[in-house]
Symmetry: C2
Subunit: 158 residues, 2 copies
């Protein structure tokens, strides 16, 4: 399990790109683990499940999306999304209905209970995300990435 701090024997990858990519993966893992723990403990949701619910709740189509779109948003393989929405349905947080114009397609619709769950879990999510990023005090690559996440809205590449 990744630790942000602590003495680590020197592992000096050859190029800047490799070191930075490694830093990004490390950051992702640390935050993801913190989010997963908190969401699971406080709301019984995995990050994948929360992400799916959030995508539905904040979609512009009234809370329903095709599974392939969900797969892109979570991100997950489409076959995994099939089982994910089955889980959410068992929890009563989503429902499925066939697309009326193309019965191959399936829409996953968030329920009222699902919306309540997202609202509650988002407080945890945002809080843990901010706290974890604030706690990052590793090397320069990590700090740069965190800075990128916290930057003010501005030019992407000046």
């Amino acid at each position: 399990m990744p630790q942000v701090t602590g003495r680590v024997p020197r592992i000096e990858l050859p190029s800047d790109l490799e070191r930075r990519w490694q830093a990004l993966r490390h950051l992702e893992a640390v935050v993801q683990e913190a989010l997963d723990r908190a969401l699971q403990n406080e709301h019984g949701l995995s990050v994948s499940e929360y992400t799916a619910l959030a995508a539905l709740a904040y979609s512009d189509d009234g809370g329903h999306l095709r599974q392939q779109v969900l797969a892109d948003a979570i991100p997950l393989q489409q076959s995994s999304v099939s089982r994910l929405v089955a889980r959410l349905e068992r929890m009563g947080l989503t429902e499925r209905f066939h697309c009326p114009t193309d019965r191959r397609g399936v829409y996953t619709q968030i329920t009222d209970r699902g919306r309540e769950a997202v609202t509650a879990a988002r407080a945890t999510y945002v809080n843990v995300l901010e706290q974890t990023l604030a706690g990052i005090s590793g090397d320069r690559e990590l700090t740069a990435l965190v800075g990128q996440l916290h930057r003010d809205a501005g030019q992407a590449s000046p």
Copy 2:
């Protein structure tokens, strides 16, 4: 499976931070999938396995690391590293030996074949990493992150 391009129904997360974190996860997934495919096809290695071998090869201790250090570098749970190094050992790419001064600890030592494997696989790894990042043409958040990865070495937070 994440696609970088293509029309996606609007999913507008409430805050900048959430949108950026989502972008980072998306970037990580796209690149990771490309790396995994390429490494698996061309060298029979997962990204985790390659990362472990690279960490060993570029460590400053002669190619051996404790499993807990590996867990931090890959990143993976310690119990998963235990099984990962068992796989690498079966492939003949690493060996294990007990730390002479503390027999609780186990060092995983990269073998000559392991070093050859890393050298060969790194060409693929770096190439696919660069190509995939170059192919990213999604939204502004993604572009900003990719720019961060490609930036020249300079001040992290000016």
